[in-house]
């Protein structure tokens, strides 16, 4: 953990009382298929491979075999109204290799939610489809009430 | 605009500036005040020193800083007040072979020693050997697969041309392979009985330093391949007479760079009690891109031959110092014989040095012997053109001498 880097003192009140650590690691879901013993983290930009390794070894007592890091380009987006381009910050990704016996699967917390959402969408689609069929049916007989059928 | 007073008004500040550009530079008149003050015992100081005094910056020791390089001046630990003429691999003696002879106190004998001449004349080589040697030449010059960027080529008559960079086998590698392959063929011919008494080493360094007529000479050379033997080569029988050449108006140390920073220790790459520690033959490579005269001209044949001699001399002298102690001066109890071969992959120069004395002064009656013949070309051209290999004017004599040297 870096000790050199603190927020710059600002005059006036209220003073900053909460000091968040400037080294942090976030477990993220890998975008591509990986061997089961590789874990992906998003880490703070200042952390090096050695920082990541000692962080996991010293705090979480994890058996780290190897750490590889890279910096991923942040996404860009065009503003819909004015057309200027905004860019998200770049992130540092750390690929941590554990011993080959270990395996890590990223937990799927939201599978139920996704299912539910899918179901809802399905019923919505169905009702839309029904309405479209209803409209199609009534296209050729203008002025006839909807309930009228042969 | 009308020519009014306002229009014609001039900015006085501008004139001041222009005026100051000229007037701001003044040479102080000598008023004699300094002399008067000094007479009164008042200290006079330069105003520059008081106004812009030098601030000494302290160097803070931080972990991870690079170590400062040692300045090459009198504070260097290896700095000596006496100057040393330091000969190293890339130096060329401008006087050529005569200078090398005077430098090493050698008389030149333009044949090989009798035993080698006899072997060259009488040796029986199998008929297939020329084919193997041709193959070895091609394998090292053309057929090796190394592809590195070669040195830039300039056309003297078209200095503005930037020719495309060519890739190929580096000069060092061509020579390493050629010498290795020739030695391999020789050892196959010689059989185990001879080759067990030899050991080969790449890139051996030899260092020695010698006093000659009040000048300190330091030598540090590298031999690309060295053959060590378990027994020293016998001294050449017979006595040879001859005079050293006259270099007037040059001194013998001309064109050897002078240094104040040097080490005078002796270095021989093996200890004495190991089985094969006697120097037998050294192979040195001449690369015209690295070895040039101090003034940039190419190396002449005589200068090339001088290089062969000096290298042999340094090896012999380093060995003599190792055997008889650093303080050995004058005649050696037993002469040391070293064979020396220099090549640039195509031209070979063979020579044999017999070191009789380490006393190099000009008036020493006993001399060292340098046996050599002229240069030999192994071939005139070896190339790969239009999908075919070409080797023209192959000269089989070179391998015969090579073989005789190995078996000596």
């Amino acid at each position: 953990m870096s000790t050199r880097w603190y927020p710059i003192y600002q005059r006036g009140n209220p003073q900053l009382r909460v000091f968040l650590p400037n080294f942090w690691m976030k477990l993220i879901r890998p975008t591509e298929e990986q061997p089961p013993n590789v874990v992906t983290f998003s880490v703070s930009m200042e952390m090096t491979k050695y920082d990541v390794r000692s962080y996991l070894e010293k705090i979480y007592k994890l058996p780290v075999v190897d750490v590889r890091t890279r910096i991923a380009l942040g996404e860009t987006k065009k503003d819909q109204t004015y057309g200027y381009i905004t860019k998200k910050d770049d992130v540092k990704l750390a690929y941590v290799t554990l011993p080959r016996e270990e395996s890590f699967v990223f937990p799927d917390f939201f599978s139920e939610k996704a299912e539910k959402q899918a179901k809802e969408e399905k019923s919505l689609d169905e009702s839309k489809e029904g309405f479209r069929r209803f409209l199609d049916r009534n296209k050729k007989r203008p002025g006839t009430p909807g309930w009228f059928s042969i | 605009m009308r020519l009014t007073k306002t229009l014609c008004a001039q900015h006085i500040g501008w004139h001041f500036k222009k005026h100051w550009l000229v007037q701001g530079k003044r040479v102080p008149k000598e008023t004699g005040a300094v002399a008067e003050l000094l007479k009164l015992g008042v200290q006079v100081k330069n105003p520059e020193d008081l106004l812009n005094g030098k601030v000494e910056r302290k160097i803070v020791d931080i972990v991870g800083t690079r170590v400062n390089t040692i300045p090459e001046d009198s504070s260097h630990p290896d700095w000596h007040s006496t100057v040393c003429h330091s000969y190293s691999d890339n130096n060329v003696l401008i006087g050529g072979l005569p200078q090398a002879q005077v430098l090493t106190n050698c008389i030149e004998i333009q044949t090989f020693p009798k035993q080698i001449e006899d072997v060259i004349a009488s040796q029986q080589l199998p008929n297939s050997i020329d084919k193997s040697i041709r193959h070895a030449i091609l394998a090292s010059h053309v057929l090796d697969a190394e592809q590195v960027k070669l040195p830039k080529v300039r056309l003297p008559e078209r200095p503005a041309f930037n020719l495309p960079r060519s890739y190929g086998i580096s000069h060092e590698r061509v020579n390493r392979l050629l010498v290795n392959k020739l030695l391999h063929e020789t050892e196959k011919l010689a059989g185990r009985s001879v080759s067990i008494r030899r050991k080969l080493i790449d890139n051996a360094t030899f260092k020695t330093s010698i006093n000659k007529d009040g000048d300190l000479l330091g030598f540090s050379i590298n031999a690309e391949k060295v053959i060590f033997a378990n027994r020293a080569i016998e001294a050449v029988k017979g006595k040879f007479e001859g005079d050293l050449p006259d270099l007037y108006p040059m001194k013998t140390t001309i064109s050897i760079p002078k240094h104040h920073i040097y080490q005078t220790d002796n270095f021989y790459p093996l200890r004495t009690d190991i089985s094969c520690s006697h120097p037998h033959t050294i192979f040195t490579v001449f690369n015209k891109n690295l070895v040039k005269n101090a003034h940039g001209s190419g190396v002449t044949t005589s200068q090339l031959q001088a290089r062969t001699l000096i290298k042999a001399f340094v090896v012999a002298a380093a060995r003599a110092r190792q055997l008889h102690g650093d303080s050995v001066e004058g005649a050696l109890p037993k002469p040391i014989v070293v064979q020396s071969v220099q090549t640039d992959g195509r031209t070979f120069h063979f020579g044999v040095l017999q070191l009789n004395t380490l006393d190099l002064s000009a008036n020493n009656p006993s001399k060292n012997y340098w046996f050599h013949r002229q240069n030999y070309d192994l071939f005139s051209e070896c190339s790969y053109e239009a999908g075919r290999t070409h080797l023209t004017n192959y000269n089989g004599d070179v391998f015969r001498i090579f073989n005789a040297f190995y078996n000596n």
Binding site: E33, I85 | K188, S275
Partner: protein, 555 residues
Amino acid sequence: MLKLSLVNQLRSTYKRCLAGQSLQANVADSEYSAQPVYPEIQDPSFKARKQRDAADWHEEIRQVPTVEEKLIKINIPRYYGYKVVDFNDSKIPYNALPLTQHYTRTVLEDLPPLPGSQVVDQGDQPKPSEDASFKTVREDVIEALEFAHDYYKHQEKLPNSAQPSAVEREQILTQIIVEQLNRALLQALSEDHKHLDEVEVDYNPRHEAFWAVGGVDPPKNVINSKKGREWQKDMANESVDRLVQYTGTPYLSLRHRRQLSPWKTTAESENIELSKQIPRFKHDPRTLGYSTKHQHATNVPGYWPKGNEQNFGLLSFQSRAHLQLRPKSYGESDLQEALHSLAIKSSYAWLLAQANYNGFNTYNELTYPMNTQTVITNGREWSFYEYQLNTLLLHGKYQEDNPRVNFCRGTKPLPLYAEISTNGKCVDFNDATLRQLLNFYANVPSIQRSNEEQQPYVASDISAYENPEQRDFIAKTFKYLASNRPRHLELPEVYLWEKLYKIDNNNRAMEAKRRFFTLDVNPWRRTLDQHDKVYVPRAIRGKSRENRYKKTYYP
């Protein structure tokens, strides 16, 4: 009049066709057959068409007459070189063995102990003559070791401006030891083993090999692109081929005119069950730590084709100096696996490069097995491996269908000596290790094949071509490709601002479309022969306007 006759001719042909006659009926009667012969019914699906195209290309490569042209042919699809996985002898990531086995289709076994050592274990005396010769060899080797160490110790004392790193130091020492030992053993053994007189010794040769591996998951961009097309959606996750380029420099390698005899029979090597058991590494090799690069396919076993008769590898000494750079956390067992992996990939690559000079390549299958022996050493520790190359087909469907497998068998690292004492004497010399090494040298290469059998796909040699211009062109193009020099044109590059403002977000719609990505051109698809031809100056060609450009002779 003429037209009328043509019409008449056509009419008669049509009539004959209607009558069920063949068009060439009047040319040869032998075209008739009792049973009608129909052309093979071909699967019109996309995948099958793709496979047929690939097979046609492989067949075209096979038909190319010379070794050099075959390599040029393989390189033709890419002007800037293929995107290849960088396999080299200096980087072995953690847990690399499964990937190496998959990428070389290799079964790993233990090297059986020497028959000689078993004899000693049982207490029987070996033949006295053998014992005497072993003793002399042993003395020679110990002497060579002591000599090498003494020289290295002296050399280290020299003040050197650039301090060599630990890896370089190991490489320097091992190079000395290996050269000394090789010389001592060649001398000592050549009297009994005449084949050692004919070996060709390569010093730090250049070993490179290129091959394609199937059964690897496609990268993200390929999946996305396929998912974007309705008809390709189902194929999105189908495995793709990865191209691999090995680059390595052993300390020493020995070559011989004849081949080593195989130690696995054809029946043993063709085993579909065994081939299914080979570990697979389906993920992208970059997830393991390998990197990719763009380069031309090169196959170099240390010399140029038709260089000499010594076309088959006998023994190579590989370096393990770079294993020092692996972190300690990889563990001891992984070091062992790394050595196996190094042995497998270096042996496979060298054999593939040798096979390439006999006309085979990753797309054209071997017709006979090839063998080599590999020693990995740091001077003190020696690991011994034997390798048998049975197949080269690893790409595409062959990953599953090919019944043949390659074999590698090896030992653990064995110490040759414990240490060199301060007075320069060798302590605890290990005879077993030396015996193993001697066994490798004594392994007589005995197989010699006829030219047709050895090189079934090679019809000619470029030096036999009549046209000097063609010879020159092929030789130069081949060297240019194999020299790994950068291409004449710089690699196409997209600047970051262009990615942000032109590709990812279309912010400059009115700008002139000049860059390749706005013109919808993929520069990586540029083929090797898409370049301006060399202009022949008028002074050379004379006044004719016809031969203004030099001809090209791409296969």
